[in-house]
């Protein structure tokens, strides 16, 4: 279990799923790792969760002290999938895509927002990114929602051409989203233009990267609507509900995701993370 959880163990709320139906047992507090280990051995919960918040009285969820700024990129909910997976399905390519999104987020969080102490974990079906930086730990829902919009490129900027800053974030996320967008999805929103956008996709992506609105308009017309559509999709790369909720509980790193038989693991090096690190020992033994 990562240090940042161990060191604040007694200030966190724990939650457990006793029967596979969801974490119905909440408001649990543990003062030592031994207590927690004992509880797990005695009760064999399906899943274990821990709060992003620290409380004076975690067992009553009272006396909120602060919360990590958490991001959840769930591979099953990616707005655009690079593979053939349908909604709710996950394959290794989806997971790789989720990992790349988390890396992009962490870049923006550190370069633009100046945040330090970013912690990553593999949740079993996606990735969690927790920001421990004190400067954001007291932010409330509305500010957190604004952070989500910023780091995902969820709002069309007034000026697309700034070299750095939000305009750059927006351009990069839009280009990324459009590159992966299949023609069928485009057709749902732009029935008449989808074919043209698809044909000119490479040029539109390039124009997007350079912030050239007029060029996009020249290529496909209705650039405003296209940008708004992409912004909306951008904002769904992460689950914003998780970020704004200062009392959220997230899967506890070092425990098993019983739905997929993978471990939720703390990741020290996100760039070189391999899914093998999350395969539980019993599954490896089973493979022979």
């Amino acid at each position: 279990m990562p240090d940042f959880i161990q060191q604040t163990l007694s200030l966190r709320e724990f939650g457990f799923d006793p029967d596979g139906t969801g974490p119905s047992q909440r408001y649990r507090q543990f003062f030592t790792m031994e207590q927690l280990a004992f509880y797990l051995r005695e009760n064999f919960p399906f899943s274990a969760y821990v709060s992003v918040a620290l409380y004076e009285k975690p067992s009553r969820r009272e006396g909120w002290i602060k919360s990590e700024l958490a991001f959840d990129v769930d591979a099953k909910d990616l707005p655009v999938k690079p593979c053939g997976c349908g909604e709710g399905q996950v394959c290794e390519r989806c997971l790789e895509e989720a990992r790349r999104v988390v890396m992009l987020l962490s870049d923006v969080l550190s370069s633009d927002l100046g945040l330090r102490e970013l912690r990553f974990s593999y949740s079993g079906r996606g990735f969690h990114l927790r920001v421990l930086d004190e400067s954001v730990s007291k932010l409330e829902q509305n500010e957190r929602a604004q952070v989500v919009s910023y780091v995902t490129g969820g709002v069309v900027p007034t000026d697309l051409t700034f070299v750095l800053g939000y305009s750059k974030v927006f351009r990069e996320f839009c280009a990324r989203t459009l590159e992966r967008l299949p023609e069928e999805r485009l057709r749902e929103v732009f029935p008449k233009l989808a074919k043209r956008i698809q044909e000119k996709k490479a040029e539109v992506v390039e124009a997007l990267r350079r912030g050239r609105r007029e060029e996009i308009r020249g290529l496909v017309g209705k650039e405003e609507r296209l940008l708004e559509f992409l912004a909306k999709l951008n904002s769904t790369w992460v689950d914003g509900k998780v970020t704004v909720d200062v009392k959220r509980i997230l899967r506890l790193p070092s425990t098993l995701h019983s739905g997929v038989s993978m471990k939720c693991v703390y990741i020290r090096d996100i760039e070189n993370f391999s899914l093998d690190q999350a395969v539980p020992r019993f599954a490896l033994e089973g493979r022979g």
């Binding site: 969801g22 769930d74 100046g114 829902q141 500010e143 509900k241």
Partner: protein, 435 residues
């Protein structure tokens, strides 16, 4: 430096200098007429000459006292975040912004920055500016000019529109919270927002406007704790209200009048609405719910209203909307409140100001006192079973302030990113991620 230390108070009414001035001044009842008139008139200030305060100790004192008198007067006749209070916040913002512009132009940039640094960790752009792309600096300048309504390209760029400072974006959290600043509209590098003096004035004056609104809200809670506000304040408050322009939107439809938003009710009211057990029913229904629902649905319109019949459609709203809600909640109690205590129906009307009756008429309004909702402290001591605070409760002392505050902050929010499920319920804290 300013010619004297106390001058900082005309930029920051909540500074130690301002507090000191108030402490060393005569009590409210003996304030000179000039201060009373200034408190009444300041919401109508239009020209810069009205807003500027000269370098005289006496002028500064009058300015600070009139500001506090205005806030207290508004709190005594209005409710938190009402139109009047928002106008006061907006005007405070405008006044502080103009003063900054005025003082910067007269060479007082550094003392102004010193005052601003109490809230915003502003630094000269310096080396960071040299590392930024030049074209971005031009774009920041152009955005600042556009915001000021200056046509591009100007013949000469006023210095207040050149990027000159940076500050941590997290210092702007109070403004982000209420949506006065959008993070995506800031130019952020390494955690700092690069800004022009013009933008900086906006941020600082915005903070002062917010602090003014919050101050009035805290006064409202203080007054409701003590009972009736002093008569002098009520008189000044009514004078202020009578001078204000009529609302642009029809009274019956503007925030926070209109439909009650149950999702923004505080936990204690939600509990009372759900019905409670014997022993707590009278307090929950007659004392809390009756006063809360009536004030939430019929907030005073900026003058000292003490009777429901003085409010437009007040009587019909009570009969058709508020009473049914109260009686339904009473029916949900265990046992239903009016089954074994039928006299409590009359007590409900009594708390609404109609005297002891079960069949009120409009002309009965005023026979008894229209009770304000009790403060949180009172609720938690008289009916602890109702008090299960959530994180919004941390900053408020009265259930009504809770409602107004959430209406203001969340009622305007369009929703949260990620549109798969959406909906208010999903946004409520305490959820769980099940990845």
């Amino acid at each position: 430096m300013f010619p004297f230390r106390e001058y900082a108070a005309v930029l920051d009414f909540f500074s130690p200098e301002a507090r000191e001035l108030v402490r060393s001044s005569p009590p409210l009842s003996s304030l000179p007429q000039e201060v009373l008139d200034r408190a009444v008139g300041r919401l109508l200030w239009r020209s810069g000459s009205e807003m500027v305060v000269g370098f005289s100790q006496e002028e500064v004192r009058k300015e600070v006292l009139s500001f506090f008198l205005m806030c207290q007067a508004l709190a005594s006749v209005s409710y938190p975040y009402s139109r009047e209070v928002r106008l006061a916040g907006g005007k405070t913002e405008e006044v502080v912004r103009y003063r900054l512009y005025h003082l910067f132009g007269r060479g007082y940039e550094f003392p102004c920055l010193e005052v601003m640094r109490r809230y915003l960790r502003v630094e000269e752009l310096g080396e960071l500016g040299g590392r930024l792309p030049r074209e971005d600096l031009f774009r920041i300048r152009n955005q600042s000019l556009r915001k000021a309504g200056i046509l591009l390209p100007p013949e000469s760029v006023p210095p207040q529109h050149q990027p000159r400072y940076s500050l941590p974006w997290t210092d702007l959290a109070p403004l982000l919270r209420v949506g006065r600043v959008q993070l995506t509209e800031l130019y952020l590098v390494g955690g700092r927002a690069v800004v022009t003096p013009y933008q900086l004035w906006d941020f600082f004056s915005g903070l002062m406007g917010l602090k003014c609104e919050e101050y009035v809200a805290s006064l409202y809670e203080r007054f409701s704790e003590r009972g009736e506000p002093p008569e002098l304040l009520v008189k000044v408050g009514e004078r202020i209200s009578s001078l204000l322009p009529p609302p642009e939107v029809e009274l019956g439809t503007r925030f926070p009048r209109g439909r009650l938003r149950e999702e923004f009710f505080p936990p204690c009211v939600k509990r009372a609405l759900a019905g409670v057990s014997s022993g707590g029913r009278n307090y929950a229904i007659t004392v809390l719910l009756t006063s809360f629902l009536s004030h939430a649905r019929l907030p005073p319109p900026g003058r000292a209203v003490t009777k429901i019949r003085d409010l437009p459609e007040g009587f019909s709203v009570v009969k058709e909307e508020i009473i049914p809600l109260i009686f339904e909640a009473a029916q949900r109690c265990r046992p239903p409140l009016f089954v074994d205590q039928p006299q409590e129906k009359a007590n409900v009307y009594y708390h609404l100001g109609f005297g002891m009756t079960t069949d009120p008429r409009p002309e009965d309004s005023g026979r008894s006192k229209w009770y304000r909702p009790p403060n949180c402290q009172k609720i938690s001591s008289s009916a602890p079973f109702l008090c299960t605070p959530d994180e919004w409760c941390r900053e408020i002392k009265n259930p009504l302030t809770y409602y107004y505050k959430r209406l203001r902050l969340e009622g305007r929010r369009d929703g949260v990113p990620k549109g798969d499920a959406g909906g208010e319920k999903e946004v409520l804290p305490g959820g769980v991620e099940q990845a």
